[in-house]
């Protein structure tokens, strides 16, 4: 069973991000402090434009904070690294590669080739249940299948931290519930630290051990709510008293921020 071990995996320390725009400076993140523990599943909710994705990009090493630091395993993050995998909302599959080619992409960059790479790719393609589509191109897959490939691709590179930026946001409700359960299942078997961004409060509670609520711009952490519902969780978890209480509470908090954005 995955869960908190107490060791801090990712430490976010006083991170501030300012963008220069035509109308002057925009403060996207203002003083973010957050500890993500090893094998922990942290979800982030907040109104759009609150800097959730910026925070994820900073942890991924795709953007640099204006001030403050982020470290992973005690080492300061200065760029991308294969110990931190990312799943994007827009799938970002390489359209010229087959399912297998996409999943092998990271492996080849790490110098793993031939039979060995193929074996690893097959394992993760099977994990996301796409073994029948191994030689298909992305254009031949549905949205849900594409996102499964993206997840398999991230897993195959064997990161210890998985960063997900609204990965199920573009999918229909049915596919989304299916992928949520699959994700919980793989998180359990693969032992990863997960940082998962969503705008869906229910999704955040269903998946996370900890829900981080972010405030409207400038993005700050408004509150962190622990979700003590035991795993394995599934769709029935949504009906439990505890779930509904958390949902009402967090939704109320997020709604206040939506109102703040409107003003």
């Amino acid at each position: 069973m995955a869960g908190k071990t107490g060791r801090v995996k990712v430490k976010i320390n006083q991170v501030k991000k300012i963008f220069d725009s035509r109308n002057g400076e925009v403060v996207a993140l203002n003083g973010i402090d957050l500890d993500i523990h090893e094998n922990e599943f942290v979800t982030v909710v907040g109104p759009s434009g609150c800097g959730k994705s910026t925070l994820l990009n900073i942890i991924a090493g795709l953007e640099k904070p204006t001030s403050g630091t982020v470290s992973c395993d005690g080492k300061e993050i200065t760029g991308t690294g294969t110990e931190r995998g990312v799943v994007f909302q827009q799938y970002a599959l390489f359209p010229w590669l087959t399912v297998k080619g996409n999943v092998e992409f990271g492996l080849k960059l790490q110098g793993i080739k031939g039979k060995e790479a193929e074996e690893i790719a097959r394992k993760y393609i099977k994990l996301v249940d796409l073994q029948d589509f191994i030689n298909h191109y992305p254009k031949e897959l549905s949205g849900g299948m594409k996102q499964r490939v993206a997840i398999a691709r991230a897993y195959a590179a064997n990161p210890s931290v998985l960063l997900m930026d609204e990965p199920f946001g573009a999918l229909d409700a049915q596919t989304r519930t299916q992928l949520q359960e699959e994700l919980l299942h793989t998180w359990d078997s693969e032992q990863k630290t997960c940082f998962f961004i969503t705008h869906d409060v229910e999704e955040a509670i269903l998946l996370g051990q900890k829900v981080v609520i972010m405030s409207a711009r400038p993005g700050r952490i408004k509150e962190t709510v622990d979700i003590d519902i035991p795993y394995p969780r599934n769709q029935e978890t949504r009906m439990t008293q505890e779930f509904l209480e958390k949902k009402n509470y967090i939704w109320g908090q997020v709604y206040q921020e939506y109102l703040a954005v409107r003003k």
Partner: protein
């Protein structure tokens, strides 16, 4: 109720139309189209005011023999093909690095792009005399003119393609451990392939359309040169023949590019026409 029947009516009409289009196979349509064109041509050859420009099909076919007898038929085709393919090839080889550099380094883009756009709009025929002054007559100026014309259109097309590559793909590669070199070889190169093929298609077309201009540089042979020469003697049959041959060569080029496209970029989500 009325709206309902209206919708039904159009639906039915569409259905009938589709059936007619589907009942005749593609090859059949091609034949119909050819027959229609021949008919139109024949009408033009019968109308007194157009008959001098459009001699009938038999006269035009006959002129193949005339041109062969004069010993220029294959020489003209060969010469034009050599000029177009070499001009195109040099233009292509030059356009690739220029497009990449423009996409990669902003300062270079800002300096070069406006001039490419500026010269692109000038018909090659306009700068032919300038080319001849420096390069003399013969093969060289022909190749230079075609190189310039094809280079301009291809470098812009490829550059715009590279610029429009989805940045998330580059991010995805980076987080999987790709360095700049990997990004270039494994993302930029394959992602720009469709645009390179589009550029090739446009380049071959421009190469052919600038042929007449290129061969007005005192060429010894060539389809464009011959058309001009024949106009001095009002020999409209071989002229029309040569014009049709240029069209056929264009068609063959396009077919070859299509073949290339299908082989190399079959993975594309949308295939443009």
């Amino acid at each position: 109720m009325e709206a309902h029947t209206l919708v039904d009516g159009t639906a039915k009409k569409k259905k009938v139309k589709r059936n007619l289009a589907e009942r005749i196979p593609n090859g059949g349509w091609l034949a119909i189209s050819l027959i229609a064109a021949l008919l139109f041509w024949t009408i033009l050859s019968l109308i007194p005011s157009t008959s001098r420009s459009f001699p009938n099909v038999f006269l035009v076919v006959e002129s193949i023999g005339t041109m062969m007898q004069r010993g220029v038929f294959w020489k003209d085709i060969g010469s034009s093909l050599i000029s177009v393919t070499s001009g195109f090839s040099i233009g292509f080889i030059l356009s690739l690095p220029v497009a990449i550099v423009m996409a990669w380094y902003k300062p270079i883009r800002f300096i070069i792009e406006p001039w490419i756009q500026f010269i692109r709009n000038i018909p090659p025929l306009a700068y032919v005399p300038l080319v001849v002054i420096s390069a003399g007559v013969g093969r060289t100026p022909q190749i230079i003119v075609i190189t310039i014309a094809t280079f301009l259109v291809m470098s812009i097309t490829i550059y715009q393609g590279i610029k429009n590559i989805d940045p998330t793909l580059i991010k995805a590669a980076r987080v999987l451990g790709a360095k700049d070199r990997d990004i270039f070889m494994r993302v930029i190169a394959p992602a720009s392939l469709p645009f390179i093929i589009t550029a090739i298609r446009l380049g071959t077309a421009v190469g052919l359309t600038s042929l007449i201009a290129a061969e007005s540089t005192g060429a010894q042979a060539g389809l464009g040169m011959r058309i001009r020469a024949l106009s001095n003697t009002f020999e409209s049959s071989p002229m029309l023949l040569y014009i049709i041959i240029i069209g056929i060569i264009g068609l063959i080029f396009e077919r070859l590019v299509k073949l290339l496209e299908r082989r190399l970029t079959g993975w594309q989500e949308k295939r443009d026409v």
